[in-house]
């Protein structure tokens, strides 16, 4: 490396250091910065002359010059800070309590959040998310689920009709039939969606959300149904959540089980939310009724499986402590902003 340039740099550094140390008045800082570190300052112009060096010399000299620039800048900052401090805070340090420039952040609907969480838990177990139409044929919504036209169980759900054989689906269960129609076992799917019932009062909205699940394979047992849903509830509500399976009735499952969890509000002592029973109904489930396999051409002796369904609003209400189902569809920002 050209010793002349090196000497020049060292000399400049020494001069500048001396000069900084001599500064006592903050108003002298800026002239100094311009003189040495500015765009047209002494150091900058010296560095420009690096261009005249040979190709081999250039990197080393560049590095050397840069180091001097870094050192000098640091020294300058130190002096600047100590001068400012010495002046009794005449120039205040940055006010970190001044609000930052916050980007606007939106909120997802709590129903979306719960559906995502439910689907994630089942996806991790190996279930695939599927969907189906909202306007459904009577065949899929009822008949193929072992609910023939004159079945009293049709009274369990008040139905919106589009025409004699077309309904707004009253549950997500028709998706089970649609999946089985197009896919041979093994099947493991989860199906979230909107459902509709002709019911509107304090505790009912005519539209709400469900998530349906279905697993069909060889030798699937009720014990595995219990295992799957126990895992789900422990993931969703915490691993110390107590739950129970009790016999119930759905036309498309046999045996059928309702799944209750210990009331999350009162812990089982009995309160208004659990109608003083200490338990909350969370899921309907059961082993797929062989009658349903008949509609989708599965061999009921070769395969077995289970299905389950849950109401999302109810889970969201329990999870977030929401006491009014109507809130979900008012879309009040004071509500949405909380999620």
């Amino acid at each position: 490396m050209d010793n002349t340039l090196k000497d020049q740099l060292l000399e400049l550094e020494k001069r500048a250091n001396d000069e900084i140390d001599a500064i006592n008045d903050p108003s002298d800082l800026e002239p100094f910065r311009i003189k040495y570190l500015g765009k047209k300052g002494a150091l900058t112009s010296l560095m420009k002359s690096l261009g005249t060096l040979s190709h081999e010399e250039r990197p080393e000299a560049g590095k050397f010059a840069n180091q001097i620039k870094v050192n000098l800048s640091r020294h300058f900052q130190d002096v600047k800070l100590s001068l400012e401090a010495g002046r009794g805070g005449d120039v205040a340090p940055m006010d970190v309590t001044l609000p930052g420039r916050e980007p606007l952040y939106g909120h997802l609907h709590p129903i979306t959040l719960v559906i995502k969480e439910v689907c994630l838990i089942f996806s991790r177990m190996g279930f695939r998310v599927v969907k189906g139409p909202n306007v459904e044929l009577d065949y899929y919504n009822f008949e193929a689920l072992n609910l023939p036209k004159d079945h009293p169980a049709r009274d369990m759900q008040d139905t919106f009709y589009i025409s004699q054989n077309v309904v707004l689906r009253t549950h997500t269960s028709p998706i089970q039939v649609r999946v089985m129609e197009t896919q041979k076992p093994p099947v493991s799917v989860i199906a979230p969606g909107k459902v509709y019932r002709r019911d509107s009062d304090v505790s009912h909205t005519p539209m709400f959300h469900q998530v349906e699940g279905l697993l069909v394979d060889r030798d699937v047992s009720f014990g595995e149904l219990k295992g799957t849903l126990t895992h789900f509830i422990h993931q969703m509500f915490g691993s110390d959540t107590r739950l129970r399976f009790r016999p119930s009735f759905f036309p498309f499952t046999e045996p059928s089980a309702e799944v209750d969890i210990r009331c999350v509000i009162c812990g089982g002592k009995g309160c208004r939310t659990c109608s003083h029973t200490g338990w909350l109904e969370i899921l309907g489930s059961g082993m797929v009724d062989p009658e349903v396999y008949g509609f989708v051409d599965y061999d009921p002796d070769g395969y077995s499986g289970f299905a389950f369904g849950m109401g999302i609003e109810r889970i969201a209400m329990l999870k977030y402590g929401i006491d009014d189902i109507q809130l979900f569809f008012k879309n009040d920002m004071r509500f949405l902003n909380q999620f």
Binding site: V189, K226, P247, L336
Partner: protein
């Protein structure tokens, strides 16, 4: 079904506490929704004898009673007309509570002291009777606490009955379940009567024209009955089960229905033409008045019970006015029948008439229990209404029932349940449920024959459920599922939806969910006078309200409505989006087209005044910018915005289509004045957008491919133009892109000026243009050549010139 614990105890021994029993029933599939204690607050109520009744000096309707409380003689004021000298009635003393929670206090009524109150049954929550005070038996000793006189304490269980278990819509049915689950045997009960009347064959006959609709019809006749109110204990139980008391005869049929599950009907024998019964279908146009006084038009869907001349009842649903029991009834015919469930359901649906009887018949009554229920009724009629019972029962069993013989594989049951229950344990379960079990020779299989009341047991799987129930769901092991990853992939819109939601949220938008059904008028403000595609509604045949009578064809009304709602609640700066389906009716298709859309709205202030920003209302470029970043972020390339007029709901001058090639994938713009007015929002600055998800998906490149980035430095040029205000920026940018050819990397608009410093008809616009080559460092000359070509082309095509200075 509501049922009293003491009534259950008549049929099976119960040593469990009410709570424990509730748990047993719930875990057996009979969910107990509530347990209510009855007669728990009778502490301060005792039997009192009225010694003297004198008129109240200050009130015509009241009297003063001197009553003997066993330990004292006190005065009470009473308004009941049956408060007469010598009768015994319940008296509540000061300190006691009525069933409605009112606390009794000593006080003066119209100036006269009343040290308590003589009570009617309803005031103690025992029945709904308020006709007068409750009269206690003459043999009662004054001072006896009421609770020891009545069968208290008692609890009423509210049991939810699933549609497959009509047998449990009865005291006996629930008792059977308790017996099966606790091992306590069922008790026998009184039934039948020592018949002293004439032989029934001479009194009536039953003919059935439709054996499918009515496989069995049994009738009994009782003569010289005495119609009067039923006794307290029966009225009490009916009341607790939610059935109104009418008279002893009507109450008996209701009581036996609740107890045995078999609906019965009592006719006035003398009002039956030819005193006989005929069962047939109604004819079209036939009219019949049911005992609720309603005239009903019938058709062959309805099964009728007729006498020799006319219809007298809607089979299994409701009796008729013309054969109803009344004060002067002397002789009665009691019906106990089995009707086909589907026939009853169709008739009941058709007439819109659902009763306790039709509820049970349409789910399935017990064909084998027809006679025992009738005998139970005859026992109570004789007990409560006296009379002479005709000898024998007319039992027309025209279509005998054969119970199914179900092949059952214990091994299969264990496989389905994941259990290892022994065959003998399973047999015990079946026996406990009154099922017959037949061994199948050498085989491991069994044959199981369910009792007639278990209409739900038809197949092997139904028996598997019974095994599971009696074994206890709790005792079935919890097993880890083996899940084979299933074929097929998730629908692409689901993946897109998650990305879109996350991005919209990061852009400051909040998600809303609105109802899929709307008012047909909701699109009026969007489409104007002439109906368009948005009017292709799918209509709901039975909507709850007109406002929810059609399926939405656009997400805009929901967004606007939500905006209005929030503005009314003082939240005026909104960024909202909804991802949802819209529905378009299609000719010749049963189901509408379901299209997934993403739509949004921005209104109010974009940035509030702050220490670093000026306040600014939202404008078109806020939404456009959001959409551009969204689309780019999703991987969509080459989309463009084209001004378009006549977009439904959008302002004619500030609206644009969003295109990928020639496909319109969405709309964006200001809401039209009509829409703003319809939702009572403030004019200006309401921006809307809609994207068609399917169109977006098909415009997306199939896969993402990495493009190596340039190794050589970029060269930048600023281009400042003055041109006619009406020339769109996009036109200039197109020229820049075209002329920049493959060396053009990006164009950025960094300034736009319209104002005093230039001609009024002009605008000044400045671009920063970046060039880069992937073959080497760009030569300034080459770039200058391209730059000049651009300026020239812009001049030719738009008259735009370089801005001086």
């Amino acid at each position: 079904m509501k049922v009293s614990l003491n009534w259950l105890k008549e049929h099976v021994d119960i040593s469990l506490s009410p709570e424990e029993l509730g748990h047993v029933l719930t875990m057996a599939g009979l969910e107990v929704e509530g347990i209510e204690a009855v007669g728990q607050n009778l502490d301060h109520i005792l039997a009192a004898k009225i010694l003297e009744v004198t008129p109240h000096p200050n009130a015509d309707r009241l009297s003063l009673c001197r009553v003997d409380t066993g330990t004292d003689i006190v005065q009470v004021v009473c308004g009941a007309s049956n408060a007469t000298e010598g009768v015994l009635a319940p008296l509540i003393l000061p300190g006691g509570k009525l069933s409605d929670g009112t606390k009794m206090k000593e006080g003066r009524i119209r100036g006269e002291i009343s040290k308590g109150m003589l009570l009617a049954e309803d005031e103690m929550g025992l029945t709904d009777d308020h006709a007068g005070i409750m009269i206690l038996p003459e043999s009662t000793t004054p001072g006896t606490p009421l609770s020891s006189l009545l069968p208290f304490p008692d609890w009423v269980f509210d049991v939810s009955i699933t549609p497959n278990r009509p047998d449990c819509a009865s005291v006996l049915g629930i008792a059977r379940e308790i017996s099966a689950n606790t091992g306590k045997p069922l008790k026998s009960f009184e039934h039948g009567v020592d018949a002293k009347g004439p032989i029934i064959d001479g009194l009536t006959s039953v003919s059935i024209q439709d054996p499918d609709g009515c496989p069995r019809y049994a009738a009994a006749v009782v003569q010289d009955v005495c119609l009067k109110p039923a006794p307290f204990w029966m009225r009490y139980r009916l009341f607790q089960s939610g059935v109104r008391s009418i008279s002893n005869l009507v109450d008996v049929s209701n009581y036996v229905m609740l107890e045995m599950g078999q609906p019965l009907h009592a006719f006035d024998y003398d009002r039956l033409g030819e005193n006989r019964i005929e069962v047939r279908r109604a004819e079209k146009g036939e009219v019949f008045t049911t005992l609720d006084g309603v005239k009903r038009d019938l058709d062959p869907e309805t099964l009728l019970i007729c006498d020799g001349e006319k219809p007298v009842a809607l089979a299994g649903i409701m009796g008729g006015l013309n054969s109803e029991i009344h004060e002067k009834t002397k002789n009665i015919l009691v019906e106990s029948a089995f009707f086909d469930p589907i026939t009853i359901r169709r008739g009941s649906k058709r007439l819109g008439l659902s009763t306790e009887a039709s509820y049970r018949f349409e789910r399935g009554a017990d064909i084998g229990g027809v006679i025992s229920s009738l005998n139970r009724a005859l026992y109570f009629i004789n007990l409560l209404a006296g009379g002479v019972t005709a000898k024998g029962i007319m039992d027309n069993y025209s279509k005998p029932f054969t119970a199914p013989r179900i092949s059952f594989r214990p091994e299969k049951a264990n496989a389905v349940l994941g259990t290892s229950i022994s065959k003998s344990a399973m047999k015990d379960y079946f026996h406990a449920l009154e099922m017959k079990v037949v061994e199948d020779g050498n085989q491991d299989n069994l044959y199981v024959i369910p009792p007639t009341f278990r209409v739900d047991i038809k197949r092997e799987v139904d028996l598997v459920e019974e095994v599971a129930r009696l074994h206890g769901f709790d005792n079935i092991p919890v097993l880890s599922p083996r899940i084979t990853p299933s074929e097929g992939s998730e629908s692409p819109d689901l993946l897109l939806r998650d990305k879109v939601r996350t991005m919209m949220m990061a852009f400051g938008f909040s998600e809303i969910i609105t109802y899929s059904f709307v008012s047909p008028d909701s699109v009026n403000a969007l489409v104007g006078e002439t109906p368009g595609a948005l009017n292709a509604f799918t209509r709901i045949m039975n909507p709850l309200t007109v406002d929810q009578s059609v399926l939405r064809t656009s997400l805009i009304p929901g967004l606007m409505e939500t905006a209005r709602y929030n503005i009314l609640h003082e939240m005026e700066d909104l960024k909202l989006f909804e991802w949802g389906k819209v529905f378009f009716d299609r000719e010749n298709e049963l189901q509408p087209l379901e299209k997934i859309c993403l739509a949004g709205i921005i209104l109010g202030v974009h940035t509030e005044k702050s220490w670093y920003n000026k306040k600014r209302p939202v404008d078109f470029y806020d939404v456009k910018g959001t959409l551009a970043v969204l689309l780019k972020g999703l991987g969509l390339e080459g989309f463009r915005f084209k001004q378009e007029k006549d977009l439904p709901g959008y302002d004619v001058s500030i609206s644009s289509g969003i295109y990928c090639d020639d496909t319109r994938i969405g709309l964006v713009g200001f809401a039209s004045p009509e829409v703003i007015e319809a939702y009572e929002l403030k004019m200006g600055h309401v921006c809307l957008f809609e994207l068609d998800v399917a169109a977006m998906l098909s415009a997306l490149p199939e896969k993402k491919t990495f493009v190596p980035f340039g190794k050589f430095p970029a060269v930048h040029r600023d281009l400042s133009l003055v041109l006619d205000r009406r020339i769109e920026c996009g036109v200039i940018m197109d020229i820049i892109k075209e002329e920049g050819r493959d060396l053009l990397e990006s164009v950025h608009v960094f300034d736009l000026y319209e104002g005093e410093r230039i001609d009024q008809s002009k605008k000044a616009i400045s671009f920063k243009i970046s060039f880069r080559s992937d073959r080497g460092t760009l030569d300034g000359e080459a770039v200058n050549g391209l730059y000049e070509a651009m300026v020239e082309k812009i001049g030719q095509k738009t008259g735009g010139k370089l801005r001086e200075g």
